[in-house]
């Protein structure tokens, strides 16, 4: 016997219950710390940053722990007597002044690495705002510009320090940005609660012990530890498993598509705002430099769409550097940097040995 009304009600009810369970687990365990900071009461990002600045070998960084933007923002505020601050994406994680393969030694004796996952245009403004408002400003800011970074909204995670971004934008555009336009509700946070990957990551968190801030033991940077390590300058040493795997993983010709889409590679509006940012920093006595980190050799094989984008963006960046009168270091092309194919973790992340060949 069919009871269609009852059936419809049950579908609606049960689907809602299933989704509610998923959303609750994602919210409660919140592996990326998006919705709340409950576990950080005794282990705040501020405490992590303080310990990091004093650490000898760096601190362990367990998976699903602090939000990297929280920590980097505090590092930007608290790191003093620093020659250079580098802002960028994970492409610049290996730029360091405290490891064997030091980077950018021609211009930086000491570095604070403010690179963040998916770092992009909005991160440049937000972190620059923190640096320009410090008493002890860095001498130089290095912008690690990825092929997608000269455009708006290529990543949403900058919202973590949205206030800093809007404050810097207000300064540069000399326009007051209304509070309600800053507070637009982002549906993606709601949708993320039922994201299958986020849910699976949340499930992995069930039953795990409370996080603690732990100093890393003395270790070989080229081998790594079981856990990711953040060094005292904010640069990152990958997990040993990732480093080992990178030696055997094949890199596809053309690489893997990540944030690069042919047709809309950069925005002239963003470039104009970046130009204002550089001029503002220079007026404040901070030098600026652009850095391009290389992509793996396989990305440069044949005429694939990624290669075309890399060539186009690099040409635009060099033109921008020339207009601004600032140094443009490195290249997306590994051969121009003298890097070999085994000096990469994957198709777009160069190892410190490769990066140390730039401006050294």
């Amino acid at each position: 016997m069919n009871n269609y009304e009852g059936y419809l009600f049950k579908i609606l009810f049960l689907t809602s219950v299933f989704l509610l369970i998923v959303a609750s687990i994602s919210y409660i365990y919140d592996p990326a710390g998006i919705y709340h900071n409950s576990f950080k009461k005794h282990n705040s990002p501020s405490m992590y940053a303080d310990r990091l600045l004093k650490s000898r070998n760096g601190l362990l960084w367990p998976e699903y722990s602090w939000n990297r933007r929280d920590v980097k923002k505090i590092l930007a505020k608290k790191s003093n007597n620093i020659d250079c601050a580098i802002i960028g994406s994970s492409h610049v994680y290996q730029v360091s002044s405290v490891r064997k393969n030091k980077s950018l030694t021609n211009i930086c004796e000491s570095i604070t690495n403010l690179g963040v996952d998916g770092g992009t245009f909005e991160d440049f403004l937000a972190l620059s705002y923190e640096l320009i408002n410090k008493k002890q400003k860095p001498n130089t800011i290095v912008f690690g510009i990825t092929p997608w970074a000269l455009d708006f909204y290529r990543d949403k995670r900058w919202g973590r320090y949205g206030d800093s971004y809007y404050s810097m934008k207000e300064i540069l555009t000399e326009n007051k940005i209304e509070q309600n336009s800053k507070d637009v509700f982002d549906w993606s946070y709601l949708v993320n609660l039922i994201n299958p990957l986020y849910f699976l990551q949340s499930i992995e968190q069930v039953g795990k012990k409370e996080l603690k801030i732990n100093e890393a033991p003395v270790f070989e940077h080229s081998i790594g530890l079981d856990t990711l390590v953040m060094l005292a300058d904010g640069s990152i040493i990958s997990r040993s498993k990732s480093i080992t795997n990178s030696k055997t993983t094949r890199i596809p010709v053309g690489g893997t598509v990540y944030k690069i889409r042919p047709g809309s590679v950069y925005s002239e509006v963003a470039i104009a705002l970046f130009t204002k940012l550089v001029r503002k920093l220079n007026e404040s006595g901070i030098n600026t430099v652009i850095l391009m980190t290389p992509y793996h050799h396989n990305v440069w094989l044949n005429n694939n769409p990624t290669k075309k984008v890399l060539l186009e963006v690099e040409a635009r960046i060099r033109k921008l550097g020339s207009v601004l009168g600032i140094d443009v270091l490195g290249s997306y092309n590994p051969e121009k940097n003298g890097c070999s194919p085994d000096e990469f973790f994957d198709h777009m992340h160069a190892k410190d040995s490769c990066l140390s060949k730039i401006a050294n």
């Binding site: 009810f13 689907t15 994201n195 849910f199 094949r250 010709v253």
Partner: protein
Amino acid sequence: MLFNSYIFIFVFLPIVLLGFHFIGQRGSHRIAISWLIAASLFFYGWWNPAYLGLILVSIIFNFTIGGLLEKNSSKLILALGIIVNLGLLGYFKYANFFVNNINVLTNGNIHLEQIILPLAISFFTFQQITYLVDVYYRLTKNYDFLHYCLFVTFFPQLIAGPIVHHKEMLPQFTRDIFGKLKASHLAVGSSIFILGLFKKVVLADNIAIHATPVFEAAENDVVLTMFEAWGGALAYTFQLYFDFSGYSDMAIGLARMFGVVLPLNFYSPYKANSIIEFWRRWHITLSRFLRDYVYIPLGGNRNGHVHRYKNLMITMLLGGFWHGAGWTFVIWGGMHGLFISINHAWNAFTKRIGARRFGAQLVAKIFGRLITFVAVVIAWVMFRAESLAGAMNMYSGMFFNNGKAIPLPSWLEPMLGDVSGALKMLGFTYHGMFYNGVFGNSNQGVIMLFFMLLIVWFSPNTLDWLKDEKPALGLDKFLVKRERKFLVWKANGLYALIVAAIAAVAIMYIQQESEFLYFQF
């Protein structure tokens, strides 16, 4: 707006259903129709409002021509109607293609801006041509403009079919009961829609990550291994299957929510035991259009074998060209024309020698499905490739390993001991089967392909599952006589639980909206 988007499922659809219900409850049949037309035009305009004018002009023009034909069955008026329709389609879909080819042939330099293909133009053009032809042959009744508008614009089938026929749609719109929502329609329709959504966002979109990089690599001259090329071809074979099957289910389910039963468009095509049967199961309404309005008018099988094969080839070449303005689509159509001709020749041959009496039918069933499937996979490569060079690169990988030594997994070498050396001498290497890394996570990809093959070959389809509810027009001829008691949908708690679980997973996977593959045609 896509069916597989939150805005469609949680905003657009509930509003349209509630509005339809509210109006229909008050017995305002014509207002309910108008509401659905307005909603459908909004749905169409969401993509690009500029083309709303195009579809409206097309509707008004065809209805006017239809009216003239009703009064006077003039060949001239019919020809005018068909020429204008095909001219519109030709301009938007094929102008760039023809100009490019003329430039290549004449070494010319004719410049034409890239013309954007209006969504659904291939579908609503064909629908209206069938209407004009049938008016000319006096096969229609006097239709009302409002009903005709809904016949063309009805959003569940507007974008990517089925290519509906006025005879099966308009009578449904004119019934008094149309405009009144029923719980049974909502229950059946939503269940079919949810299953279609699952196929699209969970199955099709997840196997696509193994198909797309392989085809892109082929376009970029990467020397693919045999395993990568076959892996990519199979992954696309299943991506297209679940994408189109999912879309067809969603269209049928949505229409059913409004009490409309759409024609069957997709019925487990990879279960076909011959290529002829494949075309009776894949894009059924397109096959029907090509048969009734191209193949039969060309003469069909009336003038002997040679004419039949010629007509088949012309029909399939046009069918290929309908899918897209590119030589790859034409060649894909030609491949299927050839396959069907061979199939007919084979049938005639076995009939003549009496092979059918010797139990050969059993053998044909066993091997027929496999051969048909392989032929379809090979042809899909041409269909998917962006260029002939890309397709050739894929074929070279699939059949000749691109002239390179066949790679085996590196872990196999120590296990084989002395045999490994012998294999090396025979032309094998141990670099890994998916050497270029373009197939994604190869273990995951191979497991997915295996399970998807099981599903498409052996599991009952959505419409089988709901057969008692008569979910689609024309389903009866596919249903097996023997009565299956299990896995027959009932509106009870158990099936509500199953469908709700599927719905929850599908909703979770709508994180990134991806277009249906058939939207581009």
